[in-house]
């Protein structure tokens, strides 16, 4: 079985799919990526599908699953380089790539990850609790 290489560039993992993947290869990529996200602590994953001339329901599901797995592991996934004919076919097939962010190319994908990372870090994430001494009023 062939394997798709996962490259680390700064804080980002880059996967450029250059082969016609068998289903087993796609599943292996899913697992490899999860392990690499945890091992490297990267916060962004870019999947470049420029070379893919089709995305069928299996690969589409793999992309959605990778996006979900990486979200749970505190990383954001961006799929880049989808060909126009692939986009048209995906929509007609009935596949909505749920939860997947897309960008036209790797460069824009990196910008997207950097921007959303910054937004995450500046958001204080505080949940409003009642001030000490005050009692929470129940509705």
């Amino acid at each position: 079985m062939e394997r798709v290489p996962v490259l680390k560039i700064g804080d980002i993992l880059l996967v450029s799919i250059q082969i016609d993947m068998s289903d087993q290869t796609a599943l292996a990529l899913q697992e490899d990526l999860a392990e690499r996200i945890v091992a490297t602590g990267c916060h962004g994953v870019i999947i470049d599908i420029t070379a893919l001339d089709i995305v069928d329901s299996f690969v589409g599901r793999m992309l959605s699953t990778i996006a979900s797995i990486s979200r749970v592991l505190d990383a954001e996934t961006v799929v880049v380089g989808m060909r126009p004919a692939v986009a048209i076919t995906l929509v007609e097939l009935g596949l909505s790539l749920n939860g997947i962010r897309t960008a036209l190319n790797v460069e824009r994908g990196m910008e997207l990850i950097a921007a959303s990372r910054e937004a995450d870090l500046t958001y204080d994430g505080e949940v409003e609790y009642p001030e000490p001494g005050q009692t929470a009023t129940s509705p």
């Binding site: 016609d20 993947m21 068998s22 289903d23 087993q24 001339d53 089709i54 995305v55 069928d56 329901s57 299996f58 589409g60 599901r61 060909r83 126009p84 004919a85 692939v86 048209i88 076919t89 007609e92 097939l93 009935g94 596949l95």
Partner: protein, 138 residues
């Protein structure tokens, strides 16, 4: 114009994951040879990928036969996926978006039907399944 391009029918056995990849490659080669547009090539190869996977997973393996067809006005690619598996008990249900018995997305059969021009399923419980699809050049 098509001198040197082999348009004779071609068959590919489907018995493993890698065979599904081979079916895609075979269909692509033929679709290019009959000069389907890029979008139509993509749709046909995607449909073939879904159906070949069905043949493998639900039919327990089988074969795909790819033929060039000609109706006098235009040419097209016809693919027959055949297996001798359990058959599809309820075809209408199997053609419903999102219905699956195999843990997939349930888009294989219904999605493939939308991607081709002609779509035909012959199946009977216990007698296997034969799916025929055709995509015509425009």
């Amino acid at each position: 114009m098509t001198a040197g391009v082999d348009l004779s029918p071609k068959a590919q056995a489907i018995g493993s994951d890698e065979d599904v990849v081979r079916v895609r490659q075979l269909v692509r080669t033929v679709a290019v040879a009959v000069k389907l547009s890029l979008v139509d090539q993509t749709k046909l190869v995607t449909a073939a990928s879904e159906l070949a996977r069905n043949t493998l997973i639900y039919g327990g393996g089988g074969s795909a036969e790819v033929t060039v067809v000609d109706d006098g006005r235009r040419r097209g690619v016809r693919i027959v996926f055949a297996d001798s598996g359990p058959g599809i008990p309820d075809l209408d249900l199997a053609l419903t978006d999102g219905y699956t018995t195999g843990g997939g997305l349930g888009l294989g059969l219904s999605g493939a039907r939308r991607l081709v021009d002609e779509f035909d399923v012959e199946t009977a419980a216990g007698n296997g399944t034969r799916v025929t699809v055709t995509k015509w050049s425009r």
